[in-house]
């Protein structure tokens, strides 16, 4: 076996090990690699390499999405904080002059309820 063929065998073994295809299929392929037509072995290697490229593409894209999502949701958190502060301010204005005993029994914070 030449070094080039040895190298091909190594590449296929490694690519198969990292491929997400079903393990039964991997075993099937590995068990028949000795008698698999030579041209198909090369096609198999191409396919596995393409698969790895595509998977890496998807992973990269999802990761990029998540990074952008994180950035977007930071803004959401700021908005939420701001909204919560507004609610708190609103409630404070409604509750500040009410007697403590009333405040403890009020139905606040319903917006439509008068602050008495």
């Amino acid at each position: 076996m030449t070094q080039a063929i040895e190298q091909l065998a190594l590449e296929i073994g490694e690519l198969l090990a990292t491929s997400p295809i079903d393990s039964k299929i991997k075993t099937l392929i590995l068990d028949h690699l000795d008698t698999m037509p030579e041209d198909l072995v090369f096609r198999l290697k191409d396919a596995l390499q393409n698969e790895r490229d595509e998977i890496n593409s998807v992973l990269f894209d999802i990761e990029l999405f998540m990074k952008e999502q994180d950035e977007r949701w930071v803004k959401l958190e700021e908005d939420q904080k701001k909204a919560a502060t507004e609610i708190a301010d609103e409630l404070f204005e409604k509750l500040k002059d009410s007697p403590a005993t009333e405040t403890t029994h009020t139905d606040y914070p319903k917006e439509e309820t008068p602050a008495q």
């Binding site: 590449e11 041209d39 090369f42 990074k67 403890t104």
Partner: protein, 750 residues
């Protein structure tokens, strides 16, 4: 469709009964008479080629000589056909044919053509993809090159970069490249399906940019004479290259071969290599003679650099032998396929002859004798191919397998032992770096091995990366998504488990976010609804469901984080409010808000903050599902990824791969033809004397269920209903498991 000379049909003159492979030729009609025109030279060249094709076909059919001669004939025939196609291609644009419309014989009605030994009907199936607006093969190849180039550019851009390190400008640039790549891919795919089926079939192996570019370079754009000459010169160069490989494998041009030390390391291979060398030398001499006759000076090409066995082991030479080995392997593959097709054809013909004999009257002694002799002759030809196939050593051998298995185990063990932390996202390797760098198990980028569904759902601690989780989730798309989708499309076994999916999802959210089942279900529904809005009608497919699942999970990850933020915000807000009220009211040590009031305030704040979040979930679902759909477009994956894996599966160990896929289905082993099985099924299900139309309906179902496509010798789809099949009927061998489960239903409806 290119005009077919009448003499193509004459090829089968020995065989009065038309075979299924001739049917489509009959439908084409007579050759178009053409007036004198500027393209006269094209026509002359075409006629010359047709004549050569006819002779070569006869030679292939009738050759009783040595196998090596048969191989040469087959190769020559294929080459001639390729040259004719190239000529047609070159002729396409400028030629104006006679204004008379081409009217061939009306297509024969279903029920009169043949597919197997019996008279079997074949519907005339005009190429549905044929369109006057379809681009030429060259134009589609150019689109393919653009699509693959754009993909390469995108991958190269991100190569070696980590997402977290990307600047905003780089992110935008990457997204632009991705968008361009996907757009070009769509354009190419849209045009590809408009090509005739045989051309689509022809292009299916081009999964790398380099292959596409080479193919484009080899597409002629020359005068007919130049095409012929160029083709011959290319053929000559190819033969000489093959000869150089054989010489290398034999241990040197004039050296005495050393037994058992050939490049492939296979016992007894030397003899075969010598035979192949003799055949190649004869073919080279023939081509050179033809070139000389045409007045073309045969310039000796630059000699291949001599590679000694010692040098072959050096790193510098590693890629060249690989390239040569690949070229050699592909040549061998072509020859094998042609032999296989010839074998099937001869088998079919034997069936026809035997059928004819069985119908002869007892007093037709002369006809019987003739038919018997013809059957013997065909049987001898078939035996010859069978013997050769038996002698043919297929594959790289045991040592190759063992090396691959060792590498596989090494990487797998490394993955299992946890060398790959969840922080590792496989780096994106540069595209087309197929042989540039020798790889070792250590240099391979890794994707965690354990199937996603076997793992408990990890929930990284706050502040830690989600990458490992992400890799596992995304991997599920490939493990249970596209591959299953490819299989499902073939076997039509798509299922709907949306309700169950939602329960599982809720259960997962419950675990991850420590929620009550009720809350988790509500959250699952919220996210599900957002995703479904974006998925639209695409939610029914398995692939879509997988996308939906990952999309939901990724969104759920963020929702989970945000829930913590909301909780924190509520606590802070109420504490702050209480504090302010106390200060304002001057209360000391007394409650200004009861628990009930706090609860109501918390609920209200939560409601408002969740409302704000809803828009973000919606936006994320839209973006994420669109991105995943584009990335996981099934036709693309099937073409550039799983086509090769499927081919490998179909061929290994006598279709054991197929056996795996058809597990649990009722099958019968192929003996003669699918047609015969269909007929038998009809009889077994109560139709004692089925018509050809009835048999054909059942045969089509069998083909569809078994992943078989019925094609002409040229590879064109003969039965359009079977176009989605994976393996050609011509490639089936005895014992192939034909799925018969669906036959009963079809028969019941007859």
């Amino acid at each position: 469709m290119p005009p077919i000379a009448p003499n193509m049909a004459d090829v089968e003159l020995d065989n009065p009964l038309p075979s299924n492979r001739e049917v489509d030729l009959d439908l084409v009609g007579p050759e178009i008479p053409r007036p004198d025109s500027p393209v006269e030279s094209h026509l002359e060249a075409m006629e010359s080629l047709e004549e050569e094709i006819r002779k070569a076909q006869l030679s292939v059919d009738r050759d009783k000589g040595l196998l090596v001669t048969m191989q040469g004939d087959e190769e020559r025939l294929k080459d001639l056909i390729a040259r004719r196609d190239a000529l047609i291609l070159a002729q396409e644009a400028p030629v104006e044919l006679t204004p008379e419309p081409v009217v061939g014989p009306s297509p024969e009605p279903a029920g009169e053509a043949q597919i197997g030994p019996e008279e079997s009907p074949v519907e005339a199936t005009p190429d549905q993809n044929e369109s006057t607006e379809a681009l030429s093969l060259r134009e589609v190849l150019v689109l393919q090159e653009e699509a693959f180039s754009a993909r390469k550019e995108m991958i190269n851009f991100r190569h070696g970069k980590r997402v977290e390190d990307l600047t905003h400008e780089e992110q935008e640039e990457y997204k632009r490249l991705r968008s361009v790549s996907q757009e070009k891919r769509k354009v190419w795919q849209a045009e590809l399906v408009k090509l005739p089926n045989d051309q689509q079939e022809d292009l299916k192996d081009l999964t790398k940019l380099k292959q596409v570019q080479e193919r484009l370079e080899n597409l002629p754009n020359l005068t007919p004479e130049q095409i012929l000459t160029e083709s011959l010169l290319r053929e000559l160069a190819e033969k000489k290259r093959q000869l150089a490989i054989i010489n290398l494998q034999l241990g040197g041009d004039n050296e005495i071969p050393r037994r058992n030390v050939t490049a492939l390391g296979l016992e007894g291979e030397t003899k075969e290599l010598r035979a192949s060398k003799r055949a190649l030398l004869a073919q080279i001499a023939e081509i050179e003679e033809r070139l000389t006759n045409e007045g073309v000076a045969v310039v000796e090409p630059e000699p291949e650099p001599e590679v000694s066995r010692e040098e072959a082991g050096s790193e510098e030479e590693t890629n060249e032998p690989s390239r040569l080995q690949r070229s050699w392997s592909e040549s061998k593959g072509r020859v094998r396929r042609m032999l296989k097709a010839s074998y099937n054809e001869l088998t079919r013909r034997m069936g026809e002859i035997n059928d004819r004999i069985s119908k002869l009257n007892p007093w037709d002694a002369w006809k019987r004798l003739q038919a018997t002799r013809e059957a013997d002759r065909v049987a001898a030809q078939r035996q010859q191919i069978e013997d050769e196939s038996r002698r043919d050593r297929v594959g790289f051998g045991t040592r190759f397998k063992e090396s691959a298995q060792r590498a596989y185990r090494s990487v797998r063990n490394r993955l299992r032992s946890g060398e790959t932390s969840d922080e590792t996202v496989p780096p994106a390797p540069a595209l087309e770096q197929t042989t540039a760098t020798p790889t070792t198990p250590e240099s391979i980028p890794v994707i965690p091995e354990t199937p996603v569904l076997e793992q408990s759902v990890p929930r990284p601690e706050k502040g830690k990366s989600w990458k490992g989780w992400l890799v596992e989730r995304t991997k599920g798309l490939f493990t249970f998504g596209i591959w299953e989708q490819v299989q499902a499309r073939r076997f039509a076994k798509g299922t709907k488990t949306a309700a169950k999916d939602l329960e599982n999802f809720a259960s997962q959210i419950q675990k991850e976010q420590n929620l009550s089942l009720e809350d988790a279900m509500a959250e699952a529904q919220e996210i599900q609804a957002a995703v479904e809005i974006e998925e639209g009608e695409g939610t029914t497919g398995i692939n879509s469901r997988q996308i939906e699942r990952v999309s939901r999970e990724i969104t759920a990850r963020k929702v989970g984080e945000n829930n913590e933020h909301i909780n924190e915000t509520i606590l802070t807000t109420i504490a702050s409010l209480e504090d302010r009220l106390k200060k304002y009211k001057g209360v000391s040590g007394q409650e200004v808000l009861t628990e009930d009031a706090k609860n109501k305030i918390a609920t209200e704040i939560q409601r408002r903050l969740n409302e704000l979040r809803g828009a973000y979930i919606q936006e994320d679902a839209k973006e994420l599902t669109t991105m995943l759909r584009d990335n996981l477009e099934p036709d693309w994956w099937k073409r550039v990824v799983y086509g090769g894996i499927e081919s490998a599966l179909w061929m290994v160990g006598g279709y054991v791969g197929y056996g795996l896929l058809t597990a649990g289905k009722e099958t019968v082993g192929l003996q003669t033809t699918i047609w015969a099985i269909a007929k038998q099924q009809c009889i077994e299900h109560g139709i004692s004397n089925p018509s050809n139309t009835e048999i054909m309906k059942v045969a089509i179902q069998l083909c569809k269920d078994s992943g078989v496509k019925v094609v002409t010798k040229a590879g064109e789809i003969l039965w359009s209903e079977t176009a989605s099949g994976v393996v050609s009927d011509t490639a089936l061998s005895k014992g192939f498991p034909v799925v018969i489960s669906g036959a009963a239903k079809v028969i019941a409806a007859l």
